[in-house]
């Protein structure tokens, strides 16, 4: 009896799975799905993307509906069913906002040629699959100026996630900024191998503080390193979004993302039928990246120093990657008068002079 019941259930399931197509979409609004690595309340990377999503909804009222799925791991194939579910729910544009989603976006983009995919921080693309990111190195360089002027011990700690070009670009540009105002300062590294792990990222910062660092910077999605700095009476540079409330006594400033205008432009292009996959990499001139306002914790003169370079960057007169730049061994990697092109930046795998630490290969 039990067996027969079971068989019946299996047959019924099979029949259900075989029949029918996905119900026709009737909604006139375009539905946009966002996939986030952390929770929207992380106060950092995911929070910045979610602000962009909200901006998009307000910028195109009545034309767009957005949904998001938070806390989707990028270490496994977890993002694949999430993308399929979002498409099932009517999304025709998907923004996948973490590096590790890249291969999975590529796979799903082939399965759904009519859906548009935009992947943040990767380098792959396809006929319906573009990628986008920002030159966060520009505000990182500026934040390095603030840190370099602030440090007394001339030791700055830097907590970062993975040995990928994105993180290497970040710490290199930061260090170039530090050394532009304080050639004696060094930057000490701690790799965490996580994007979002408040406890681990805080511990890494504590270890750096114990080594004598008095300013902490980060390439992490949580405010853990800033809180560690405050608890030890040190100072901190944030990342992703203006996080002045997390550790008010330590916080100096942060390189931040401003995704709203970009998301709006992309969705507008899709609505207008003019969208094409591209590799977007905007800088401070576009406003997609910026430096958060300096707080009262920042050193005297920092505002003026930052403003001067910022104006040059926006005017296109200053390039973070302009030579001469030496690597850790003292060898000149970018000659005087030369610069590191986009290709070189996207595959960057060496650390600049002044960094104490190494890239695990």
């Amino acid at each position: 009896m039990k067996g027969r019941l079971l068989k019946g259930a299996v047959v019924a399931l099979l029949a259900l799975a075989c029949t029918g197509m996905i119900s026709a979409q009737t909604a006139k609004k375009i539905k946009v799905g966002f996939i986030y690595l952390g929770p929207v309340g992380d106060g950092g990377y995911t929070y910045a993307h979610d602000l962009g999503r909200k901006y998009l909804e307000q910028a195109l009222p009545g034309q767009v509906e957005t949904v998001y799925k938070e806390s989707v791991s990028d270490g496994n194939a977890d993002s694949e069913p999430v993308m399929r579910d979002l498409i099932d729910q009517g999304c025709t544009i998907i923004f996948a906002t973490s590096f590790g989603y890249m291969d999975h976006v590529e796979k799903i983009a082939k399965e759904y040629p009519n859906v548009k995919f935009l992947h943040c921080s990767g380098y792959k693309s396809g006929p319906n699959f573009g990628n986008y990111f920002g030159r966060i190195e520009q505000p990182r360089y500026l934040s390095g100026i603030v840190a370099g002027m602030k440090t007394k011990t001339n030791k700055i700690g830097y907590v970062l996630a993975f040995e990928i070009p994105e993180c290497i670009r970040g710490v290199d540009s930061f260090t170039l900024g530090v050394r532009s105002v304080n050639p004696k300062a060094t930057v000490l590294l701690k790799w965490t191998h996580t994007w979002y792990d408040p406890a681990k990222e805080k511990d890494a910062a504590v270890a750096l503080l114990d080594e004598g660092c008095d300013v902490i910077a980060q390439h992490q999605d949580t405010t853990g390193p800033q809180i560690a700095a405050q608890e030890k009476g040190a100072f901190a540079i944030g990342y992703n979004s203006d996080s002045k409330n997390a550790a008010p006594k330590a916080y100096l400033t942060a390189p931040i993302w401003n995704w709203g205008p970009y998301y709006t432009a992309q969705v507008k292009a899709v609505i207008a039928g003019t969208w094409k996959p591209e590799a977007y990499w905007g800088g401070m001139a576009d406003g997609v990246v910026d430096l958060a306002p300096l707080t009262a914790n920042a050193p005297k003169g920092a505002q003026a120093a930052v403003d001067k370079v910022k104006a040059q960057i926006i005017a296109g007169k200053f390039d973070v990657w302009a030579g001469p730049v030496k690597d850790q061994t003292g060898a000149v990697r970018i000659a005087k008068g030369a610069t590191l092109d986009d290709k070189g930046q996207l595959s960057l795998d060496w650390l600049v002079e002044g960094i104490v630490g190494k890239i695990e290969k």
């Binding site: 496994n76 579910d85 993975f162």
Partner: protein, 387 residues
Amino acid sequence: MPPIKIRKRTETGGVRSFVIRATAILAALVVTAAFIALLGKNPIDVYASMVTGALGNPHRLRETIIRAVPLVVTSLGIAIAFKMKFWNIGADGQIIMGAFGASYFALNCPNLPQPLLLLVMAAAGMVAGGLWAFIPAFFKARFGTNETLFTLMMNYVAQKWVTYLQYGPWKDPKAIGFPKIPNFVDNAILPKVFGVHIGWIIALILVAVVHVFMKRTKRGYEIAVVGESVDTARYAGMNVRGIILSALFASGALCGLAGMIQASAVSNTLAVDISGGAGYTAIITTWLAQLSAPAIVIVSFLFAVLVQGGSYIQTAFQIPQAAAQILQGMILFFVLGSEFFVNYRVAFGRTVAPSESEVPEEFKVPAAYDEPASPEAVKTTKGGSRG
């Protein structure tokens, strides 16, 4: 305060357990409804969405089945161990090691023909998972070590082993520094049947096989006897150690096969979080299914509905992930909690006739599964009485 007496029910009435379970589900729905209302959503809409989100169209049904497959296969493995009252908490590690075994061949022999490669991967997954369960079984049978802790710790060893591979020797050189293991070639990926990878057919076949094995074979019977009483098994002349070792190898092999299926069909590679926690979730599904293979299919499917529906409502209602998990947890809490009332009678303030089974069977610590007392041991006892 009146004394509370707890007694194991001697008979379990079908009607009564049905009423208890139904009440528990109802209570779970009511309490959870209050929680949903607190979030500012309409509970009835949310519940309806959970069901339609998991079963509402072919795509959703397929996703639900994909979530159920690893639970079914892993639960079958756990059921064999649990039948023997060997508390195998190590299914997660066995899944990971099974996935590792399969991945070794997927990555190193990509040119084998697909059917052969998949068979080799399945065999490797089963051997790797089986051995991972065999180790704690050996120590249990030989030295009477605590298998619960031992199997649990083996999970962390398996995790760290794959982490090491992922960050070290197996790191994909094409991933420009990002710690991931290369994707499998198409030959190493299980084919689909009706839009769902073939793992669902494998799972159903295994349900039949395990059911017949446990109910109709001598070894299945022996496993049940060892679970009931090691002394009885020994008295009946059974080779208790052999039974424990072979049963645990089978248990781990099934979990390892679940790992192979996940690596091949779902992740298309090996990763630390390959199991997605299935090794722990399957403990719950196995227990709720009362170790019955056919019931495992139903419970695992319902569990998958809960997870897929829980995922759906996150996007449909923009409920935070943590809140969706509280929902799932609440339902589980009540359903698992009701099992207590199904199995035990609780009396307030009345004297209950003393029962010989005051101590529930599952709380009794089984003795080390040793061979009949050795001559030395007997001698020592005698010596003790003499002195």
